[in-house]
Amino acid sequence: MATHAAFMPGAKVETPTFWGAVASWLTTVDHKRIGILYGSSAFIFFLIGGIEALIMRLQLARPDNTLVGAQTFNELFTMHGTTMVFLAIMPMSASFFNYMIPLQIGARDVAFPRLNALSYWIFLAGALFLHASFVFGAVPDGGWFGYANLTSAQFSPRHTIDFWMLGLQILGISSMLAGFNFLVTIINMRAPGMTLMRMPVFVWMSFVTQFLIVLAFPCITVGLILLMFDRFFGTLFYVPAAGGDPLLWQHLFWLFGHPEVYILILPAMGIVSEILPTFARKPLFGAPVVIYSGIMIGFFGFGVWSHHMFSVGMGPVADAAFSISTMLIAVPTGVKIFNWLGTLWGGSIRFQTPLYFALGFIAMFTMGGLSGVMHASPPVDLQQTDTYFVVAHFHYVLFGGSIFGLFGGAYYWWPKITGKLLDERLGKVHFWLMMLGFNLTFFPQHYLGLIGMPRRIYTYAPDLGWNFWNLISTIGAFTIAVSFLIFIYNVIRTTRSGKVASPDPWDGRTLEWSIPSPPPVYNFARVPQVHDRDDLWLQKYGDGHGGAPRPKAGPVTAAEIAAIHMPPTSFWPIILAIAMAVMISGLLISTYQIIIGGLLTLYCMYKFAMELHRPPEGHGH
């Protein structure tokens, strides 16, 4: 189809006009373009969340500071947490799911390309809706965890909580759609010969993550709907005076919230499991165990939620049970770390930027994991929960872990996605500054927590011994900010005049490195036949047991390319997402808008479902 041939990334055809280019992005169903949309949106929200963190750090730089007031500070930490979890780390992972899963499993796209576009546009709608609260002066202020009954109409009468609760519901729809899409993609779209155990470990960890998403998000959705009914329709689910129970929210939230932690970390673990073998030039050590550990983490992830609630008074039996299950989950996590060390052991390690971030992940995530073991013990947790010790702990997991892993992934796959190499020197400067800033910011917070500094306080007294290390922590935060400015500079500079990447710049092991950088719209001219987890490596070097490298297949003919069917662009995903946003924002504006938006949504869903597309003959799988 000529119309979308013009819209492929890296295509030779010039995009005719500026508006044509814009339209091509708005209507794209190409998993690679959607991946880029996810990644760039997520990076912008990452910067917004980062700026919120910097303002908080400035406020806390000295005691009794008055840079921002109580209300603003409470808004900042609410939006920082919500943004980083839902609008930065999750969509950054989604960006790699989108771009890399089809490439790694040898597919031409995801199972439902239009649904994929819909996921992205709903995500963007939810993110913008949440940030519209700044425009209306009703920024969410109940914490990212939004504990009932502080979120009830009685104690939070303004629209602040409404923006948060509706925004999260919109984002939940997006995550659910994407989750199912990737599950079907991974189950159905693998190239011939790619058995489950031959799947790259990143795909495996993504696979587990999708299960977590589709099983965990309904829990928070239930919680949010009960909250919505309480706030809008006067029900009393969380109102203790009427026999409701605020702890119901905590259970529903953490039944989502703990698997969410693994939703945030497993993709990064998958990325690290790709980077280490590539740069150690050795297969992942005990790959099946790494995979099983990922599955175990996902499975146990649903049985540990109440370790966030050791202080609420659940009684000794529940405390003991959740303590044991939490300690149990440390076993597969520790196993993974040792398997990564085993991967490096005996390798021929090439120190390039992606590897730095992967090593940073291991070094920092280990610390986060070990401090996590401390508060797996409820008596210890009673001293540590809701203090800066926990803030330090989960930043070692989510920044030292997820962000290091995801930026490792960004440096690793950047040449594949853009066709340009990022500058190695700037990349290493970024890494070292980030490493330094990260440890300066968060390591002292362990100490601050142990000497009693609680979380979520906008001010503190000067005589508690917290002053000096808070100042250091603030300096560290700005060091992190500088490191990301270097990343941005690196991106701008290499986009303008970077070196052109070969299809396989790192001597990779998996299928994405067997196709051009950036890949053509159809990814694989010929769907590959897969023989091993490290299929490309075997093609290049043989199996290491005397097996010769596999003979290269003949050149792809023009007729083969012409026969590839790719799905046409569609504007229904974005319009449907807008219609839904109109409907949901009506809850804050007027009933008529809900009705109009609802009807519009139904109409768009109908058109979306009935949109004509070509019969599936000649489809790639």
Binding site: F155, S348, S377, T459, G465, W506
Partner: protein, 350 residues
């Protein structure tokens, strides 16, 4: 740093930069070392120098886990750095042996982790059950009410009510019955042990026996709205004899003010909205705000934010919101002489 390349070849020519890897260790080491220099553990809200049986039980487990995890940390980071140095790519090196795993090794470290965790689990479970036992009949009962954003403490055995200042004797178990009339709070005295949430319409229990007399700050540890950061309190642990003295002083009725300004303050108090919220034994019986019967005996007020001085009191009365954002005490429009008189009256309530 590797030389810039026009395109990346499969085997780039480069010098080993394991010095950079060394830096990885250096950063971690320096940060820790710097921190060590500035570490003072004996601070007002320190959790690591426990002053009660409860705090000591939890601290012992904390130390046990800390030493083990420190060992594991050193092992992992050590292996990581060593592997990076030992197995760095050398010029002209062959492709390394494609090892896929080692079953015995993998099973060994899985079992090792499980055993280490068992070492943590056993004392943990013992401590969970021990620290949550029902309080003894001889325990001092204290009803704690966490409210936005201050604390009320009632001693049903002694018929005393106080605010933001908790008095305890050493050597006698204190049983805290935790109540929240509004939203969830968390009751925490770091030096005396861990925290327990204060949840609406459920009475949580926390028991501990303070061992060392002294003054310890406490603070709400669960985000509870606008002035969460300002919801502090003070704990004074007395010797049993001193505690008896304090109980006696609190049980006596407040003396009538003799100073004319204070007397005028009393008149203002009784004729204004103050009485709707505050109790002063024999004067008023409001229950929304803190009991002021022995207000002047407390060193701090307003969620333990301010020391009890005439200047602070005047400022507070004239604009509560300014000193504690979101404060539920309304600004009654008291000005100049009025607020000074009120402050004088309150300060007479020893």
């Amino acid at each position: 740093m590797p030389p810039q390349r026009s395109t990346v070849s499969r085997f780039p020519k480069r010098r080993p930069d394991w010095t950079l890897v060394g830096l990885l260790g250096a950063v971690v080491f320096l940060t820790s070392a710097c921190s060590w220099v500035g570490w003072n553990w004996d601070t007002p809200m320190s959790t690591v120098i426990p002053k009660s049986d409860f705090g000591k039980t939890t601290h012992a487990i904390f130390m046990l886990i800390s030493w083990w995890t420190l060992g594991i940390f050193i092992a992992v980071e050590g292996i990581l750095l060593y592997a990076c140095w030992r197995f760095r790519e050398r010029p002209g090196a062959a492709i390394p042996k494609q090892v896929h795993g080692h079953t015995v090794l993998e099973i060994s470290w899985t079992i090792a982790f499980a055993v280490i965790l068992l070492i943590f689990a056993i004392p943990t479970i013992q401590a969970i059950f021990k620290t949550q036992e029902a309080p003894a009949a001889t325990a001092l009962r204290v009803e704690v009410f966490g409210k936005q954003w201050w604390w009320e403490f009632r001693y049903p055995q002694h018929k005393i009510t106080t605010a933001n200042e908790l008095h305890l004797p050493t050597g006698q178990a204190a049983a805290f019955f935790l109540n929240a009339p509004d939203v969830i709070h968390s009751f925490w005295i770091p030096q005396l042990g861990g925290k327990r949430d204060v949840v609406p319409h459920r009475v949580n229990l926390l028991t501990m026996t303070p061992e060392v007399p002294g003054e310890y700050p406490g603070q709400c540890a669960e985000y509870c709205g606008m002035s969460h950061a300002n919801m502090r309190f003070r704990v004074i642990v007395h010797t049993p004899a001193d505690f008896e003295k304090w109980v006696k002083s609190q049980q006596t009725a407040p003396v009538e003010p003799t100073d004319p300004v204070a007397q005028q303050g009393k008149t203002i108090f009784t004729q204004s909205a103050c009485v709707g919220c505050h109790t002063i034994n024999g004067v008023s019986a409001g229950h929304i705000g803190p009991d002021l019967t022995h207000f002047a005996s407390r060193k701090t007020f307003a969620g333990s934010l301010m020391t009890t001085t005439p200047e602070n009191l005047v400022k507070w009365i004239e604009n509560p919101e300014h000193m504690k954002p979101g404060a539920l005490m309304p600004n009654l429009g008291m000005k100049g002489e009025q607020s000074k008189a009120l402050a004088a009256y309150l300060l007479s309530l020893k």
